[in-house]
């Protein structure tokens, strides 16, 4: 019996010929990513346990991002603590202000994500990096502490669900619409404890960046990881950013999947996940039959959709248009490089002329941190990944998840709007 890409990576890192779903293994970890919220407790734990060591400082990347630039004294203290700790352990990969950005956007962009490797981080959206064919999963602070000290971590080998997406995406439909459609289909626990492997001609046609939007949201279906086999585009993306040598790992033809689900991309529509779950998707044709949903805020950013392609899509729609009076549009390029690129391309001119504001890279309002918090009764259309109660502010505010195109179109109309009418 063959193995899936996930099983192969885990077997290799556990020093085994093969592994089976359900098996408990101890795997070597190639990369640990640390951010402000979950790493500080991990450092405390290690110190308290008398285990304050780092297995390999070159395999640690630190990206303060959640409350960065520091939103208050407490968050400033957290980052200051990490800064001191990183210095003590000679961790070079520290993305401080000036190089900062949202962790899951920085990691692949700066060449830290290598196909076939194992990555853990104290952040649930760590599944993003599966877009490059790595086994990458989110863990808590204790796991981060354990990995920092030992370079290894325990895992139960997950079963894999295969998602085959074929066909050409219609105009105005993007990778965000694919993943929101899948989550609507299988539910927020539809892939609980499982690896989600995405394949098919549609996935091949997507850029590496667009693929990241899909794997990013694997956790929103309860998945342990999302993964896409590396192809030529992946190799080109990685080789242009890293000198690291790696083995290309793909699933065997006779690999075992617990389930295979097929989607025809040509039949997909723009979709919006309504409050308060990412699975609560409504297609544009369903939305058109409803009463208007006015939006107080339109938010473009995050590890899901804050990359340069996302900003370009939104700019194309916003060009020559104005954000509706009464609606606030906030653009948050996910990393410093993306910020610079967007400025160079003139996208900031388009955004500001439309009446949007541009923020420095941060996780910011996506998790209700800062830089765009919602008041009671407010509604926000956002390109982020989670719309739980109170996610972006007041527990009485409402969050609608959508593609950057829908966010831009909705900003113009001041209500949830179909982006297709703005596209040539």
């Amino acid at each position: 019996m063959g193995m899936t890409i996930t099983e192969k990576i885990l077997a290799k890192h556990a020093g085994k010929e093969s592994v089976k779903p359900g098996e408990l293994i101890n795997a070597k970890i190639d990369l640990v990513m640390c951010h402000d919220v979950t790493t500080t407790p991990a450092i405390d734990m290690l110190e308290k346990a008398g285990m304050d060591k780092v297995f390999d400082p070159d395999k640690v990347v630190i990206t303060p991002d959640h409350f960065v630039p520091n939103k208050d004294i407490k968050s400033a203290e957290m980052v200051a603590r990490i800064r001191r700790w990183a210095k003590k352990h000679k961790i070079k990969n520290f993305y401080d202000i000036g190089r900062h950005g949202v962790c899951h956007a920085i990691l692949p962009e700066q060449g830290h994500v290598i196909p076939g490797t194992t990555i853990v981080a104290g952040d649930s959206h760590t599944c993003t990096h599966g877009a490059l064919g790595a086994f990458s999963t989110g863990v808590g602070s204790t796991d981060i502490a354990a990995t920092l000290a030992t370079g290894e971590l325990w895992f139960k080998v997950p079963e894999t669900i295969k998602f085959v997406i074929d066909g050409k995406l219609p105009k105005g439909v993007y990778s965000k619409d694919i993943i929101l459609t899948i989550i609507r289909d299988i539910g927020v626990d539809g892939a609980l404890y499982k690896a989600m492997e995405f394949t098919g001609s549609t996935i091949s046609d997507l850029s590496v960046e667009a693929r990241m939007t899909i794997t990013n949201m694997a956790i929103e279906a309860g998945g342990k990881s999302g993964i896409i086999e590396p192809d030529e585009k992946t190799l080109e993306y990685v080789k242009s950013r890293s000198k690291e040598k790696f083995e290309v790992i793909r699933s065997d033809e006779d690999a075992n999947y617990i389930e295979t689900k097929e989607y025809d991309a040509s039949k997909l529509e723009p979709i919006v996940a309504f409050p308060d779950l990412p699975s609560n998707g409504k297609t544009m044709s369903e939305i058109e039959k409803m009463e208007d949903i006015n939006v107080d805020q339109a938010y473009l950013g995050s590890c899901t959709n804050g990359r340069i392609e996302d900003l370009r899509i939104a700019a194309e729609i916003l060009k020559g248009n104005k954000v509706k009076e009464g609606t606030r549009m906030i653009v948050v390029p996910a990393t410093t490089d993306i910020w610079n690129q967007a400025m160079k391309e003139g996208l900031f001119d388009i955004f500001t002329k439309a009446g949007a504001t541009i923020s420095t890279p941060t996780c910011g309002a996506c998790l209700g941190g800062h830089m765009g918090i919602l008041a009671e009764g407010e509604k926000c259309i956002t390109s982020t990944n989670r719309n739980f109660v109170g996610r972006m502010g007041s527990p009485k505010s409402k969050v609608y998840l959508a593609s950057p195109a829908i966010v831009a179109a909705s900003a113009i109309e001041g209500k949830i709007a179909d982006p297709r009418r703005y596209l040539k």
């Binding site: 101890n26 979950t38 346990a49 407490k74 104290g122 952040d123 863990v139």
Partner: protein, 170 residues
């Protein structure tokens, strides 16, 4: 090992980490600080009602969302000894085991247990006794590995004791 406490029942799926401990409080990782806001965005009365040793009872996919271990710390700090639910989100479950905190999978528990019912959890037998209703329910026994971590009071202690994370024989 037997634990006795009062049940706080939430007949709800997908109770997420934003509800258990909202991100606005994540600038602290102190249990007593986080405990003041446990379950705040789901039930503002929870912290007033909860007593040391109590249990939370819920439905599917408890703890979905963020990887914040603060969710475990907030609950533990508030006095909660165990969460009993149909199923748990993966990272929450992992964080629970790693902290030696009890996350117990028990089918349809939220439909069987009433609010404030007195429960007794027998970890060894895999049984929950509802003292108030004089009923008993079986739960999925914790794995040997999970029990070891709980016995060691968490993953880091376990590593110290065993000089490694997972023994080959687990």
């Amino acid at each position: 090992m037997k634990l006795t406490g009062k049940a706080h029942v939430y007949k709800k799926d997908d109770i997420n980490t934003d509800e258990i401990i909202p991100a606005r409080y994540l600038t602290s990782d102190k249990e007593e600080e986080l405990a003041k806001h446990a379950m705040e965005d789901l039930d503002t009365e929870f912290v007033k009602k909860v007593e040391k040793g109590d249990f939370i009872v819920a439905k599917e996919n408890f703890g979905c969302g963020s990887s914040r271990e603060h969710a475990i710390w907030a609950l533990r700090g508030s006095g909660v000894k165990a969460v009993i639910a149909n199923s748990f989100a993966r990272i929450f479950y992992r964080n629970a085991i790693n902290n030696g905190f009890l996350a117990i999978e028990c089918k349809d528990i939220a439909d069987k247990v009433g609010n404030n019912d007195e429960l007794e959890i027998d970890l060894k037998k895999g049984k929950i006794l509802n003292i108030t209703k004089d009923e008993s329910y079986s739960f999925v026994p914790l794995s040997e590995f999970a029990l070891k971590l709980i016995g060691s009071k968490g993953l880091l202690n376990y590593i110290k004791e065993n000089k490694g994370i997972v023994a080959d024989n687990v």
